[in-house]
């Protein structure tokens, strides 16, 4: 029943020259699930996410997204991708940025809802270059979800966002997931990991282990995710 998987990665490897970015990774993400990709910088999280949108082609293995083998350009209107650095047009206003990304993804309307979701509707006329880092991050998030994608890929989405707003955004993610949106979040922030339904730990391009936060703590025999992650990493290294 591959149809029920939003993302199905089978034996994927990728090397850039001599550097092995991903090594025989197999993982599946259910529809409507919030899945966290955890791992230190340079572990391969971003390479994997870029594969989900067809920006990186694997050297071996297959990537299937929403039932279609990647790369598949037409499918991308159902995927929202928030890159690690807030990729926005600094000379446009908040609203103009969100409108642009709505249009290229074939969405009509939804700009107001997206801006309200990230609490930037009051600042919709501000030019992006005048915004703080956290506000840009939120604007970038609005651009990623304005077209109501079935799969939302968030590469470290809440860096620079204050704790109170981070809680509100995660409540929003939870609502989206309940409504059927699949969300894949990469992070090295453990309190974000705690909010995911399932986690995949990635180290040196390999998937170390998968499971719910509770399962991972139990597997490592540690009280916190942070300690569990460090302990599992050391066992492998």
């Amino acid at each position: 029943m591959s149809d029920s998987w939003a993302v199905d990665v089978q034996g994927v490897s990728k090397h850039f020259g001599d550097v092995k970015a991903l090594d025989a990774v197999t993982l599946r993400v259910r529809q409507g699930e919030i899945y966290g990709l955890l791992g230190p910088n340079g572990s391969g999280k971003t390479t994997l996410i870029r594969m989900f949108v067809g920006l990186v082609a694997p050297n071996a293995g297959t990537v299937t997204v929403l039932g279609k083998r990647m790369p598949n350009v037409a499918l991308l209107s159902h995927v929202g991708y928030m890159t690690q650095a807030a990729a926005l047009y600094p000379g446009l206003s908040v609203e103009e940025n969100v409108e642009f990304f709505a249009t290229i993804n074939g969405a009509e309307g939804g700009v107001k809802a997206a801006l309200e979701f990230v609490k930037l509707y009051d600042r919709r006329d501000s030019v992006v270059s005048t915004l703080s880092g956290g506000m840009r991050q939120r604007c970038s998030l609005a651009c990623a979800l304005v077209h109501k994608p079935q799969l939302l890929l968030l590469d470290e989405p809440t860096v620079g966002v204050d704790p109170q707003l981070r809680v509100e955004l995660w409540d929003g993610f939870k609502q989206m997931a309940d409504a059927g949106t699949t969300i894949i979040v990469s992070s090295h922030v453990m309190d974000e990991a705690e909010r995911c339904q399932r986690l995949g730990l990635i180290l040196f391009g390999k998937l170390l282990t998968e499971g719910s936060p509770n399962e991972i703590r139990a597997q490592a025999g540690k009280p916190t995710l942070e300690e569990a992650f460090l302990s599992l990493s050391e066992r492998r290294a």
Partner: protein, 366 residues
């Protein structure tokens, strides 16, 4: 001031350049390329304008002046038939021809020296040496016939332009195109690089946008700006600077617009080979300057060394410059074969660059 800290800055700077091959190339390869090209162009070019001499004089004087002209170092002379003169001016093989009429000697005996001087006229720089050589040759006659009050009165006619035609008229035609080409190129390459460095290109690539849509969208956006700029440049050149124009203004605008679109696509294409704005600006001495030197703006392509003529003949700017000059100086229209070639080559280059820009965009991302 601490010597150690100054040294740290100096050392850091040099270390940085060690890993920046592109900047090293700019510093050490570009000057050799540019100066070498310039040296080859100036030393290797046939600098003396070619002047045809048609001697129909029934007396002895015409032959004497022709012999004196042949000795002149400022021009190179060949003997022609007066009837072929105009066609040789048009095809560019002569910059001028001088006719000594049948009654040249007899008129001179009557006190008037009146050779017919036919100038091509589009290059003001070549008119001076021709008239100067003629004057010197005539002085030799005057000295051989002392005592008489000789009256020197050459009949000068211009195929293009006229006596009031100056250097700005000659360069203006080319610069109208060059200014637009250069500025549009710089603005496009930097904007497209911003798209890459600010991460939005990655976002566009992760959307259902096709590569061709990005390139064509960019092209149209910049073309709007470039066309407005073209209108401004054209109006300023014609109305304020009063650059000579014998051609159709719409045709000039069309050529300018083609150059602008070529510059947009060249900018997109080359932006694939740069990662920062600084690297993009480095393309100017390597890509724009040689084209500028070889396009015939400063040095006529006909007089270049043969090897460089081959290079000039494959550069699109050469055709654009030639086309603009043909229209503005010679009053060419689209029925002229040479203008059809110029427009065709520039348009073909635009198509080639669009394809190249789309192809490179794909390669770099996947």
């Amino acid at each position: 001031m601490s010597g150690k800290r100054v040294e740290a800055i100096t050392k850091r700077l040099l270390q940085q350049f060690r890993r920046d091959r592109r900047t090293l190339a700019l510093l050490f390869v570009a000057p050799i390329v540019i100066l070498g090209l310039l040296g080859y162009l100036i030393r290797g070019s046939a600098s003396a304008p070619a002047v045809g001499i048609a001697n129909e004089d029934q007396g002895p004087l015409g032959a004497t002046v022709a012999a004196a002209l042949a000795q002149s170092t400022g021009i190179s002379t060949i003997t022609i038939q007066a009837a072929n003169g105009d066609s040789k001016l048009k095809d560019g093989s002569l910059t001028a021809y001088i006719v000594f009429q049948a009654d040249f000697s007899s008129q001179a005996r009557a006190g008037t020296i009146a050779p017919d001087v036919h100038l091509e006229g589009s290059q003001p720089g070549t008119v001076g040496p021709v008239l100067q050589a003629l004057q010197q040759a005539l002085i030799s006659i005057a000295s051989s016939a002392p005592g008489q009050g000789l009256h020197v009165q050459p009949h000068v006619t211009y195929l293009y332009g006229g006596p009031g035609f100056d250097t700005l008229d000659y360069f203006g035609a080319a610069f109208i195109g060059l200014v637009v080409f250069f500025l549009v190129f710089v603005v496009t390459i930097v904007s497209f690089l911003n798209e890459r460095s600010q991460g939005t290109l990655e976002r566009l690539m992760a959307s259902p946008l096709r590569r061709g849509e990005i390139v064509v969208g960019y092209m149209l956006g910049f073309t709007v700006l470039a066309l407005i700029q073209s209108v401004e440049v054209l109006i300023f050149s014609l109305a304020v600077l009063k650059v000579h124009n014998s051609g159709n203004v719409a045709l000039i605008f069309g050529l300018e617009a083609l150059m602008a679109i070529a510059a947009v696509n060249l900018g997109i294409f080359l932006s694939m080979f740069a990662r920062t704005e600084f690297q993009a600006v480095q393309f100017i001495p390597l890509v724009i300057v040689p084209q500028f030197l070889l396009s015939g703006i400063l040095f006529s392509v006909n007089s270049e060394p043969r090897l460089l003529q081959v290079l000039s003949d494959v550069l699109p700017l050469t055709y654009a410059v030639n086309g603009l000059r043909d229209v503005m100086i010679k009053g060419a229209d689209l029925t002229w074969g040479s203008l059809q070639l110029d427009v065709g080559v520039v348009a073909g280059f635009v198509v080639l660059l669009v394809v190249a820009a789309v192809a490179t965009l794909r390669r770099r991302i996947a």
